[in-house]
């Protein structure tokens, strides 16, 4: 063989073809060691699994956080704490997760639906750490994005990623969680709750009142119902069940319904979002 090597110019050498849209997706499902975009569990997933989530531990503080807390100033990239998401989200107790990490490297599989650009360039094939995972405090930057890993066909990756439920992003039928948006008339921002974490209307109500009590403190009701200082726990409940506010939800048929009529299970399945309405607006339900 005289000329063992011929040069061929491949188009798009090792770059991800545009049609696959995999850059966006690669950072989601492919490589779960995405460096900048991490979902950190407060005090949970032990970094000895080498996923470096410990970096984010410091962000978890206190029960209530505003939007600003979720943004880490690093070139506008979102840092999601706990179960993150673009909306502020607190679990029941303000703590985002049970601190115990059972599944060693499970959390490093966190990934985001709304990946805020720029996602890490998925196409560069950097050599990841092959050497032994040394455990604690491996910085996320050491785990580079890896092309083609885990080895899942593009088609399957793409299908899964574009396979969210047809209903809007807030509710997912038949899955392990049911996050729904909760709005309150007059409140500057919405909240999100996971309906699966509650087993009755009572639990839901008390959770909601905790969430929204900050908005009602000091507020003078539009109907002239003055609010007491030092809001008691039951006050919002009274408000919700009394004349001031009404808890409603939008079901799968896009109708606005009064919360409480149907059995709890049926409610969780059919609820897409909730709205704490002023009772004056609730005429007609």
């Amino acid at each position: 063989m005289s000329m063992p090597f011929e040069e061929h110019d491949y188009i798009g050498l090792s770059e991800t073809p545009a049609m696959e849209n995999s850059e966006k997706l690669a950072s989601k499902g492919l490589n779960l060691k995405a460096t900048e975009l991490r979902l950190g569990l407060p005090g949970s997933e032990s970094p000895e699994r080498g996923n470096g989530l410990g970096v984010l531990k410091g962000f978890i503080s206190g029960a209530k956080r505003g939007f600003s807390d979720t943004i880490n100033g690093d070139s506008g990239k979102w840092v999601f704490t706990g179960n993150g998401g673009s909306d502020v989200d607190l679990g029941k107790n303000g703590a985002l997760f049970s601190p115990r990490s059972v599944n060693g490297s499970g959390s490093e599989g966190t990934s985001l639906k709304e990946v805020v650009p720029p996602s890490p360039k998925a196409v560069h094939e950097k050599k990841p750490q092959i050497s032994a995972v040394n455990g604690h405090g491996v910085a996320p930057a050491a785990k580079a994005q890896v092309v083609g890993w885990p080895p899942i066909r593009s088609f399957r990756k793409n299908s899964m990623a574009v396979n969210p439920p047809k209903s809007d992003e807030d509710a997912k039928l038949g899955s392990g969680c049911l996050y729904v948006k909760v709005s309150m008339d007059g409140a500057p921002y919405l909240r999100k709750v996971d309906l699966k974490t509650y087993s009755s209307y009572m639990e839901l109500s008390s959770a909601l009142e905790k969430m929204f009590s900050c908005f009602t403190i000091g507020q003078c009701g539009a109907h002239g119902v003055p609010l007491r200082d030092g809001m008691s726990e039951s006050r919002l409940m009274d408000l919700l069940h009394g004349s001031e506010y009404v808890l409603t939800y939008e079901d799968k048929d896009d109708d606005w319904m009064l919360v409480g009529d149907v059995p709890w299970e049926m409610f969780t399945v059919s609820c897409k979002r909730m709205r704490i309405m002023k009772s004056s607006d609730a005429i007609g339900l």
């Binding site: 063989m1 063992p4 090597f5 011929e6 491949y10 050498l13 090792s14 073809p17 696959e20 989601k28 499902g29 060691k33 979902l39 569990l41 000895e48 699994r49 996923n51 998401g85 989200d89 997760f97 049970s98 059972v102 599944n103 060693g104 490297s105 499970g106 959390s107 966190t110 990934s111 985001l112 639906k113 196409v123 094939e125 050599k127 990841p128 750490q129 092959i130 032994a132 995972v133 890896v146 092309v147 083609g148 890993w149 080895p151 066909r153 593009s154 088609f155 399957r156 299908s159 899964m160 990623a161 396979n163 969210p164 047809k166 039928l173 038949g174 392990g176 969680c177 996050y179 699966k196």
Partner: protein, 655 residues
């Protein structure tokens, strides 16, 4: 003829036996004969081997010498030897009849090595050719050797092209093959292509050049669009199969389905599950109605439940069904009708699709699930308890594919998905194949995925398990040892611990002993994919014990050249080796010189091989195709990706 086949198998075997064994079998076959009238008998009853045993008379001394047979394949010169040219002991009719029962290409290869007559008989009788790598042989050579081919299976790109590791426009274009086939095989009926580049022009060429064309299967191919499908639908009057799986193609709309003419009734297999566009439901319904032989129907997710019900009513004879979207608000009446439609499908044994399956509607499947043998839930996104409920109704399940579902953070983290697998272990004792894919998290929640305990649970309940593909986030050596002890019959063991280089999560040790246990216990192992933190010890085990291994996939593993050397030296049956991101260098690469010719292909990427190493390899082994693909940014001396294909050609022609 089942009995005939059985006999053929017993004598020729399904393994790639040596010619010596063949000779012994042939000897047995031809002893104890009486007269030739039984030739008529076998034509009538079609049970040739049995009749031959009773009937025909031959000299047993006519069987070729075994030593000669072994050397037949080595060089052309031996074909001049008297033994090779000695006439076959069988009359041609008998041999042809026997050969017509043989379908395995491995068996046929063995037959062709026995002697010249058998080689000729085999090549004239072969109707299906399997080409595992399109660059291992040219279409001209294939056409010259096999004059009567009706069906071709072709595989093209290296498997790692599925994961974006192969550059675009690498090759594996079908068009040069089609040009040869059009001339040599005008009666070609079937093409089954995997990882080939197929253009719309090629599809049109197929549709217009082969009047008998019946069956097209495209798996992981790329380069075509729905326009090409229009050509197929419009021109192939005898089409029985159109099977499209996971191709990278341009979906320009569903109009192709409407291109089947109204008098077209021959379709038996239709799979367009991987396409995204709407098709005309009326056209689909009409097609399903008039194709009475339809047995496989896999629609895409634009088809609703209500539409599915209407299709099922038209085609209760279906054997394999891929549903569309399984999420829709159904009126109770429609729900009942859907359940009734499933109830009427008495032959259903494969179910897939179930996109976005709403757990409320899964129960409609229960009426049909007792007979299910293959359930593909990888796009269904079921929760563990939903999976558990469903598999509880599938006691006959042999194959199960599913994807791990996201769970809520507040559930117990380590066992939720595993619970689904536990249910599988207890409900499906006949399970032979399990594939667990990681779900793509598209919400804010943490994905926990399955752990080793799910796998162990399945292995306890499903002792016949022999094929597994398992993506997980944690694994331990002890768990794997338990698993293979429960299921020692693994032929395919593909374990992907998703974090590269991750050790045993309990002991923090490498996962060497896990794969050691696999290769020591599972003596029938043909395919292995390793992951986790692995030293050279893993590969020492593999080289020492995995004597039946044919395919090995390695990523982020090994400590030195020794690892790869052990594999190349020890795994005598190795055909495909794919390696990425491992510290194997030139010494390892060059240690396999003798091995590469008997292997189909070797892939190495992101290892420590240099250009000089590749040049040396190419120089030493001129009959190998050695190809180096370089990434732009890399060092000149570093060979980023190497692909070696054992080939009858001296250079891979760029298509």
């Amino acid at each position: 003829m089942a009995m005939g086949k059985g006999y053929a198998r017993a004598y020729y075997g399904t393994e790639h036996a040596t010619a010596v064994q063949r000779k012994s079998s042939a000897h047995l076959l031809i002893s104890g004969v009486s007269n030739a009238y039984t030739l008529e008998v076998l034509r009538v009853f079609g049970n040739p081997i049995l009749q031959v045993l009773k009937g025909l008379s031959f000299e047993s001394a006519m069987v070729p010498d075994p030593k000669r047979c072994n050397s037949c394949k080595d060089s052309a010169s031996s074909r001049d030897s008297p033994e090779w040219t000695r006439p076959s002991p069988f009359p041609d009719e008998v041999l042809d009849r026997v050969l017509s029962l043989m379908e395995s290409h491995k068996d046929r290869s063995s037959v062709s090595l026995v002697c010249k007559d058998w080689y000729n008989a085999e090549r004239w009788s072969r109707s299906h050719v399997f080409i595992g790598n399109c660059y291992s042989v040219s279409p001209e050579i294939v056409a010259r050797r096999f004059p009567n081919i009706r069906s071709v299976t072709l595989k093209g790109k290296p498997r790692f092209s599925d994961f974006n590791l192969v550059p675009q426009n690498w090759g594996a274009d079908i068009c040069s093959w089609l040009a040869v086939f059009a001339a040599a095989y005008p009666f070609l009926e079937e093409l089954r292509l995997k990882r080939m580049a197929v253009s719309d022009e090629s599809l049109e060429f197929i549709a217009t050049s082969f009047p008998c064309f019946k069956s097209l299967s495209l798996l992981s191919c790329d380069g075509f669009s729905t326009d090409g499908l229009k050509s197929m639908a419009s021109h192939c009057k005898n089409l029985t199969e159109l099977d499209l799986q996971e191709n990278v193609m341009d979906d320009l709309g569903g109009g192709w389905l409407s291109c089947f003419p109204e008098n077209f009734v021959t379709l038996e297999v239709l799979n367009f599950a991987s396409l995204n566009s709407d098709v005309s439901f009326d056209a689909l319904e009409a097609l399903v109605t008039r194709c009475k032989s339809l047995r496989v129907l896999k629609v895409n997710k634009t088809i609703t439940l209500e539409q599915l019900q209407r299709l099922l009513v038209r085609a209760p004879q279906l054997v394999e069904l891929g549903t569309g979207s399984f999420q829709q608000d159904l009126m109770p009446r429609v729900y009942a009708e859907l359940e009734s439609a499933f109830n009427n499908c008495k032959n259903l044994h494969t179910l897939s699709g179930l996109w976005e399956a709403n757990f409320l509607y899964l129960p409609v499947l229960y009426v049909a699930s007792a007979g299910l043998t293959f359930l593909n839930l990888s796009y269904a996104c079921l929760r563990s308890n939903e999976l558990a409920n469903l598999v509880a109704h599938c006691p006959s399940l042999r194959r199960l594919w599913f994807a791990v579902i996201i769970v809520s953070k507040t559930e117990v983290l380590d066992t939720v998905e595993d619970k689904g697998l536990e249910a599988v272990g207890s409900s499906c004792p006949l399970l032979e194949e399990l594939r667990v894919f990681p779900a793509d998290p598209f919400d804010q929640d943490i994905v926990h995925g399955v752990t080793e305990s799910g796998f162990v649970a399945v292995s306890r309940g499903c002792r016949r398990l022999h094929y597994v593909l398992y993506f997980c986030r944690q694994m331990s050596n002890a768990a794997v040892a338990t698993i293979v002890q429960n299921c020692p019959d693994f032929t395919h063991f593909r374990l992907c611990i998703m974090n590269p280089g991750q050790p045993d999560y309990l002991t923090n040790e490498p996962m060497d002993e896990a794969f050691g246990a696999v290769v020591k216990t599972c003596t029938k192992l043909q395919r292995l994919a390793v992951s986790g933190l692995l030293t050279d010890l893993t590969f020492e085990y593999i080289g020492k014990y995995a004597k039946n291994l044919e395919t090995l996939s390695v990523a982020f593993a090994g400590s030195s050249d020794l690892g790869m050397q052990c594999v190349l030296g020890g795994c005598t049956k190795l055909r495909k080796l794919e390696i990425r991101d491992c510290p194997f260098g030139n010494a390892a690469l060059l240690s396999g010189l003798e091995k590469y010719e008997s292997m189909r292909s070797l892939w190495m990427s992101a290892c420590n091989v240099t250009m000089n190493g590749c040049r040396l390899l190419a120089k030493e082994m001129p009959r190998l195709n050695v190809e180096v693909m370089k990434d732009d940014e890399s060092d000149d001396s570093q060979a980023d990706k190497i692909l070696k294909i054992a080939s009858l050609e001296t250079a891979r022609k760029q298509m």
